[in-house]
Symmetry: D2
Subunit: 340 residues, 4 copies
């Protein structure tokens, strides 16, 4: 089917991922993670995030987020995030349901939160009537395509730790952030003090699977039981692990992400001179947010599927992915020009 | 790696499954199930279970079970199952956690429950102090390798419906039961009055994915939200759907299951004359349960991995799978004879 | 002990409440609500709110709120309230924990929400990634002492019903609102379209107990089981019911509330001319909110206990109750003047 | 109303309890437990159970049980109890709903469990597929009126601790057990190694209120937030505390319980010679269980309310309480004789 700009999860898998799966398919391996492919994948993750890290595979981003948040909270805690956070608006209340916690959503301009914006919500410590602030969660890259700089993350981690809270990063598109910042994964996570990370590769060329990665905190007692109880433990684990191997070896994750980012830059640049189109967020990863003339939206969607972001102001979201081509963008921009 | 007898989920994927995945990999498709591959898979499921059925894909058996049970319960209901049921002993409390329901586990000899055994637990209807009986769940084939006959299922369904309850079937190994009974899938599910089915193919040659199939009951309002909230909604859905297509087309599911069953029969027969080995359950699917001399267990496990079933009486479980060969069994039996 | 201005729940019980309890104490009555005292209390509530209403007693306001919200939601719904709502800030996440729902908190100036402020949050209907808007809850009187006018409630109810949502009222201080508006209870609840009400009398002279009152909606199937499962069903129910009888007979609820309101008016008026004290909310019930010079807070608290409302701007909350006397207020104001 | 034999919670409150409430009613006290009456009640509980104990008041037995169990479990744990336990059959699934844990119910003859019966359920430690055994809970006196001897409790506590589990006691009728054993409260709880106790007085002459008492374990971090979040924190706490004071001072709890026990003995003795009536459990507290000729049940219930225990074998339960008189029993026995 034709490639569109709806989501990086509308793409298929990178060919190397399929090859890796085929390679480890034959013969029997013990289920649930006690197999050599999983052992190798975990070593690769230790290589990427630091030797002290501990990684646990699960099925998807919502699962990894819920497990990460649950790892450091009791039900009387609150979870603090940006109002635009995936956990707040796109998980149908999964965090509340599984953790029992209150989610406090902080308004932002660009999807990023900072200590200053969080501070006013930190009160009632020790007062039993109030949910106790427990964990801060940020998305890297954010749902608006913006990227936290290392210093910003460090400040958030220090801030969280000052209040005896933890910092979680939803890294569904962490690869795109690393590519944009031109920094190793460890430099923008572990080294910045992030406690636990949801590290996803599905949006970057995988089929399924996500990793909960403990970076700077001991794995909480009981974590493995929570993974099972949350329905997020896969039996034929080698098939998730093989994908991680494929994407971590030879920096395929980086090539894929860098490519997607580049495509977004080209798209942005191609639109720069078109009157009537306003880019609404800095393009720092693989998404372009734009306000466009309303009459072009429907016909354009017919040819290249994508989603509205904010109907009230005719803002759309265009996502590129590892398999987007310059030709795709040319065709897309041509069609936009025709419609205008 | 060497094939063992630990579990049918220790096998890899059937080559046709990999081929099917490769075939639908290129290009973009809308995520979360609104794609043509998923549409085709659902049509195949309607073909297998009846045109009125509605199917929803999710990640795994625990997920499908939890979603099925949740679909017809409120938290004040009880869930009735055999003591040996997967939902009771192998899901780390996932049903209780997600549904809030009480699980009532009924002792059995062979993994099968019947109205007569359930009846004594059905009291307190309308009395607010008691969890209200809500749903009966059976496993086909059972965790002990035994198979419910259609008449037994029909009686359970009628019984459940008399009390305004529902009947759920955990069909992680439904294919093996159909192969054993030599009956179509519909004849042993829909036609017997089962309301909702967890239909798994992972243990029968798949990579990941399970289906919640509503057979005789309308899909409860809100089911799709529960799937998302339970973390069981996959983004790149086509990859689950393609596996269902591969296994449902040309009855690959049946060939795989029939083969595994046959291997179990051969194993059982090969052991029949060996003194000191007692088969403890009728071999009706792809599992052989046996009491063996304790001294052979450890050395045998070293060569062919498998699990203890009941340590107190030296009972082991040997599972065959779609890729078990007669040579595997010969080698295994030879080794057993050597050790005795 | 000395009376202060901390909370109306710092008062004891009205003497008539104690008398009523003594009156029904002797002899045996069936537990859990099937007794004549409870029958009488329910009749009185039907008299107050309309014959079609159905009432269920429970222990406290948090319990009544959680049960009311749970009655009309599934875990994938969202609950919409003012940011200052008791359910949002003073129940330690009880609504999230018990219902599994997302709570959406809307900023307000005066503790009141209106359709216009809610509208922007109502999107994603039918989209499985989003918690589905399920119920709006308002507090009457609000946590800021302000009172919704009947027309405002009617608009909220119509608005909710347009979107297939319900309207819940947290009426912990409903009596004070009725006294302020000089309207019967039914006129400001049932007649305005409220679906379910938490009707509390603890803050108005009771010892313990709260009522969930279904006004315009059928009692949802299973409600009584949820009450039990939530730990909110009392065994010796007559003791809650007797308090409701005492307060509903001869309009004691109204006398108590009107008195408390009057005391707040006197306090407000006594402070009007004092320089340095700014009343921050209209005084419409039994609370006075004021910004005061910071240096007087601590010494004043020593003599008359009360709570800070907003530390950042030296705003305090002074609550009157059914047993506050004009002498109490004189002493309090005198002390304030001394400290200034 | 006439006194019957349905339940000790069908009685009203002891007059001293009402007096105590009236005594502390006037004036203001800080809510939620920071008041002098609560301080005194806690001191009395320390006196009764040992100085190291920590007590928290809540509303009722189900609340106290849920909070106690939750205090020492995570959702992946299992809770082990007798099949007849109140938490298993009379709380509508409250423990499962609030804790998320699996409840494992062990069949018994007399309502008592012992290490030998529990042992077979303790497996799968460390295996993530199984709920991990977390806490054992026993009821004293049991739901069948039988009483654990100190040695039996000690063995259960040692057994639990060996497996790194905790021991909880549901002491809704602990007073009756202490009276029967003629031992101080501490001797049959703290000194036997019980970790946490639900200590109820409602069935022994109170109006409402229960205490969670930590005997030999530190109060788990976060307990007070769980109490609030579970809806079990009372605002006007002094009214619960005053009842505890009334019943603990001058051993009123013991007098009440001893009286109820004595009444049960008299009832049992009065029935001893009546042909056709079979006492089914040793009478060790305030309940008499008996199989009676079916034709007398309905007419007898009309005059003296009581409950069926086991309909299948015409077994009834007759409970005495602190206010049962010898005259009540004479009348009851006379009526039984008439009906036979």
């Amino acid at each position: 089917m034709k490639r569109g700009f709806a989501s990086d999860n509308n793409a298929g898998a990178h060919p190397s991922v399929l090859t890796a799966i085929r390679k480890i398919n034959s013969g029997h391996m013990i289920g649930y993670g006690d197999d050599p492919v999983t052992a190798e994948a975990i070593q690769l993750l230790k290589g990427a995030f630091g030797q002290q890290t501990e990684a646990f595979f699960c099925y998807n981003g919502t699962g990894a987020n819920v497990l990460s948040l649950n790892a450091f909270t009791q039900s009387y805690h609150s979870i603090i995030c940006a109002e635009t956070a995936h956990i707040n608006v796109d998980e149908c209340g999964a965090p509340e349901k599984f953790t029992g916690c209150k989610v406090i959503a902080i308004p932002t301009q660009n999807g990023k939160i900072a200590p200053k914006a969080i501070k006013p919500w930190l009160h009632g410590f020790g007062f039993e009537h109030h949910s106790q602030p427990g964990i801060i969660t940020i998305t890297q890259t954010t749902e608006l395509g913006t990227v936290y700089r290392p210093q910003e993350i460090r400040e958030l981690a220090d801030f969280a730790h000052t209040y005896n809270m933890k910092l979680h990063m939803d890294g569904a598109r962490l690869s795109n952030a690393a590519a944009f910042l031109d920094l190793p994964l460890q430099a923008i996570t572990t080294d910045c003090g992030v406690d636990v990370l949801s590290f996803g590769l599905t949006k970057n060329g995988g089929i399924f699977g996500e990793a909960v990665v403990f970076l700077n905190s001991q794995v909480p007692k009981g974590f493995k039981y929570f993974r099972k109880q949350s329905t997020q433990l896969h039996s034929k684990m080698r098939f998730i692990s093989a994908q991680y191997c494929a994407l971590l070896e030879n920096d395929l994750w980086l090539k894929n992400a860098a490519h997607a980012n580049e495509m977004a830059q080209i798209l942005r640049n191609s639109l720069a001179d078109i009157p009537g189109i306003t880019i609404t967020q800095p393009v720092e990863s693989n998404g372009v947010f734009a306000i466009v003339p309303p009459h072009i939206i429907e016909p354009l969607m017919k040819d290249f599927f994508f989603y509205m972001w904010d109907e009230h102001r005719n803002e759309v979201r265009w996502m590129t992915s590892f398999d987007t081509t310059t030709k795709d963008i040319e065709d897309f921009v041509t069609r936009i020009k025709e419609l205008l």
